[in-house]
């Protein structure tokens, strides 16, 4: 077993601070201000992180399914209990703090990783805060320098109507929350500026949910800064120092998240050129259908589209030679085959890892596609997000989706649950339910293919008369 002592010091240095406890907070909700002076065994280093990662993944999943706050609260509670809780609360706290700091090492290394980690940890904190007792919450509030006192009942009754009015004016339900804080308006400028609080004689009446926001905002800010510092330390010293011990573990952990990335199409499924149009009709998700249509129409796709669609085809099983023929067949109608060979062939080969630094690029996940910013002349991105309502309806109609299912999809879109909308489309197009939800276009494709294969087999196995 490794020498625990030296490891602890590195962990402490890595996480951007030494000394102090991990900020045990009251009631066991740490704020992770400083790395703890704790002993960590190497197996725990990895196992604790994996368990916490499971919680964060579960949260990501819940969010992408558009779960309401009450549902998220329940989900977080269950995930935490299942993966993190120990009989001994001191052990739980230990695991909590250690796993957080280990994951900081894992997720500090790129902008995308930092964003994801920050988002999930903040959400985790938000719901754990909501689950804490009022005294615990109050103690945490003072730790974040928000030492507010709850409104006494009589005062609350006096302003209840106004509080209800404010809630309704910002689109919340009329039944007002029961806990409010009377705070000098100077301390909540954002809430004042957006008229989200009732003001009277210099005091703002802040709802508990808004205080939670203030706390969470501070938490988020702290972790964000810490991640940047951690990254610096990682790049400067730790990565090299630990290249035989912690670094491999850290790097393996970050890959563990992305799950099936479709970089190597499994089952050696191949698709051939003549199949593409047929496959598009039956098994492509809307984003890819649209791009194929536009490619056929214009004999061209701009860079964003070439990347998103090209990588998708690769993940679906289109071999490099076929890919080159495919794109050449279309592009040469617009720019000529010579220009194609000169200007476009290289990047297709690049996508397959045959040029340059030979990275075999992974097809984009839904999350990445949704966050794209298509501009003039672009057809990539997520149609559920980037199409106007009329265009989306028309596109879905062409897929054969209409009536009640279509309205359900449009409703999801209005509430910005784009992946749910795509999942519903999948269900409407295939007549089966999709419990896991769609989070990758290639997933859509392979699940669709599986269903059709099963259907075919069922048909074939029926006795012919």
């Amino acid at each position: 077993m490794e020498i625990v002592r030296s490891h602890r010091q590195i962990a402490a240095a890595a996480a951007g601070g030494g000394g102090g406890d991990g900020g045990g907070g009251a009631g066991g909700l740490p704020t992770y201000r400083v790395a703890p002076q704790l002993e960590v065994r190497l197996e725990e280093f990895e196992l604790f992180a994996i368990d916490r990662l499971g919680v964060l993944k579960g949260i990501a999943d819940g969010l992408s399914r558009g779960k309401r706050p009450e549902e998220m609260e329940k989900l977080v509670n269950e995930l935490w209990k299942a993966r993190m809780r120990h009989q001994d609360p001191a052990e739980t706290l230990n695991k909590d703090i250690i796993s957080h700091f280990v994951l900081r090492l894992v997720y500090c290394r790129t902008e995308e990783l930092r964003k994801w980690f920050l988002s999930m940890e903040t959400t985790l904190f938000r719901y754990r805060f909501r689950l804490e007792s009022p005294e615990s919450q109050r103690m945490l509030m003072s730790e974040f320098q928000l030492p507010y006192k709850a409104l006494p009942h009589l005062e609350f009754e006096a302003v209840k109507d106004k509080l209800s009015q404010v809630a309704r004016s910002i689109g919340q339900s009329a039944t007002v929350e029961s806990v409010f804080f009377k705070v000098p308006f100077e301390e909540v400028p954002d809430l004042v500026a957006s008229r989200r609080v009732f003001l009277s004689k210099g005091y703002a009446y802040v709802a508990m949910s808004q205080v939670v926001s203030l706390v969470v905002t501070q938490f988020r800010c702290n972790i964000s800064k810490a991640l940047v510092l951690t990254n610096r330390k990682w790049m400067a010293t730790i990565k090299e120092q630990e290249k035989d011990r912690l670094t491999p573990i850290v790097e393996a952990l970050s890959n563990a998240y992305f799950g099936p990335d479709y970089s190597q199409p499994k089952d050696a499924v191949e698709i051939s050129l003549k199949d593409i149009d047929q496959l598009a009709r039956t098994s492509f998700p809307l984003c890819m259908r649209h791009m194929l249509e536009k490619l056929r129409e214009n004999h061209h796709l701009k860079h964003g589209g070439r990347m998103q669609f090209g990588l998708f085809l690769k993940g679906a099983g289109l071999k490099l030679e076929y890919a080159l023929s495919f794109w050449r067949a279309e592009f040469s109608q617009k720019v000529g085959s010579e220009r194609f060979d000169k200007e476009y062939a290289y990047s297709i080969r690049h996508n397959y890892g045959k040029e340059g630094k030979r990275t075999d690029y992974t097809p984009y996940s839904c999350q990445k596609i949704i966050s794209a910013t298509p501009g003039v002349g672009d057809h990539h991105g997520c149609p559920y997000r980037h199409f106007g309502e009329e265009n989306l309806r028309a596109a879905l109609n062409k897929m054969g989706v209409s009536g009640h299912p279509l309205e359900e999809i449009m409703d999801k879109v209005k509430n910005r649950h784009y992946q749910l909308a795509c999942t519903l489309t999948f269900e409407a197009a295939h007549g089966v339910s999709c419990d896991t939800g769609i989070n990758h276009p290639n997933q859509y494709f392979s699940e669709s293919q599986n269903i059709l294969k099963t259907k075919n087999q069922a048909v074939q196995s029926q006795p012919t008369t």
Binding site: Q165, S169, G171, P189, A193, R195, L199, K201
Partner: protein, 361 residues
């Protein structure tokens, strides 16, 4: 300071913040790198210019003001004054005529003076409803099923009756196609807008007097918008949005947001009009008439007519400035001085107490 003013004879006096070091010596500190020369205290101020309302007043434009459009300033004073007192708890508020086409507001409470830029911006945003710009027709957007209590109160107490009883008529808002088109442009539903447009276009010059046209058409518009059949999302607050567009105060956000913004001192002479920037009583602002504000030449005349007296200290009592100055002193200055004194005393006592405590054996 009086001798300094007599000696330098300034054109006008602008007031800014109190700084951490003597502004005259600021260059000496510039080398140290850290921001040593910073504003420390400054009143919370607001500046409202009637030229910002040019798109909704037809009687004047630019720097001109008349009895038909000045009431827009009166309305602004009423709404902001009430909110500054009731919502924010401020007490020492001075309103002053800007000398030509607007009003200034000086909030002088200690709490207000200590606000930082972010807090000032927050207050300005709290008051902000009109979001101008070239690219939208509709500049007032009141979302949500009900209005925030501040906006609701402003509407029911002040804006609604001002719009319906005064402005409709004084600005003839529906009297011509060009004018009513502007209002119809604020309705998000094309069908309703064209329905009303067609109805009024047919009705052009009837025998009814002008008053009726504006009031009648407004009633028709309200009825149409609030009737049961058009319950679309965007229409919920349309009537209020129209009223707010035409009447709600339009602040100059930049003036309020930064501590270092300079603002003309009360009682200065406006260089272009010669009028004195006299205080306005918010409780009687309906009576304020910018066209009767004393001018410099008028004051000179009054002083000369009164003749010279040995006690020149109270010459102002014999001029038209008598009332404004008395009002300034009793309604604003004396309460302000009293409050400052009380603050100093309690701060002193607190310090005394603190040192006593630390001496306890």
């Amino acid at each position: 300071m009086e001798s300094s003013i007599k000696e330098k004879c300034p054109f006008k006096i602008d007031i800014g913040p109190v700084y951490s070091v003597d502004p005259a010596k600021r260059h000496a500190y510039a080398q140290s790198g850290n921001n040593v020369f910073v504003p420390v205290e400054r009143e919370l101020i607001f500046d409202i210019d009637i030229s910002d309302y040019d798109d909704v007043r037809y009687c004047c434009s630019g720097a001109d003001v008349c009895k038909d459009c000045w009431p827009l300033m009166t309305i602004a004073i009423k709404i902001l004054d009430a909110s500054l007192r009731d919502d924010f708890g401020f007490n020492h508020i001075l309103w002053a005529y800007s000398g030509r086409r607007g009003v200034h507001c000086w909030v002088c409470d200690s709490r207000a003076r200590k606000l930082n830029n972010e807090q000032r911006a927050a207050i300005a945003d709290y008051f902000r409803v009109y979001k101008g710009g070239e690219n939208t027709m509709k500049k007032v957007s009141l979302t949500g099923p009900v209005l925030h209590p501040f906006l609701a109160r402003s509407y029911t107490d002040v804006l609604k009756c001002f719009f319906e009883d005064k402005l409709l008529l004084s600005q003839q808002l529906f009297a011509s196609e060009e004018r009513y088109r502007k209002i119809l442009d604020l309705i998000p539903d094309e069908n309703i807008a064209s329905e009303l447009h067609d109805r009024w276009q047919g009705n052009r010059r009837s025998s009814i007097s002008k008053e009726d046209v504006n009031a009648t058409r407004w009633e028709q518009l309200k009825t149409t918008l609030q009737s049961g059949k058009h319950k679309a999302q965007g229409l919920r607050r349309c009537v209020e949005e129209i009223v707010f567009s035409y009447t709600y105060p339009r602040l100059d956000m930049e003036v309020s947001k930064h501590m270092n913004h300079l603002l003309k001192a009360p009682f200065c002479i406006h260089p272009k009009t010669g009028r004195v920037c006299v205080p306005i009583d918010p409780n009687n602002c309906d009576d304020f008439d910018p066209t009767t504000v004393p001018t410099l030449s008028q004051l000179l005349g009054e002083l000369n007519a009164a003749g010279l007296h040995s006690n020149s200290e109270n010459d102002w009592e014999r001029t038209s400035l008598e009332k404004p100055i008395r009002f300034f002193r009793t309604a604003f200055l004396q309460p302000m001085l009293k409050a400052c004194k009380e603050e100093l005393e309690s701060a002193y006592n607190a310090k005394l107490q603190q040192s006593k405590n630390s001496l306890a054996w």
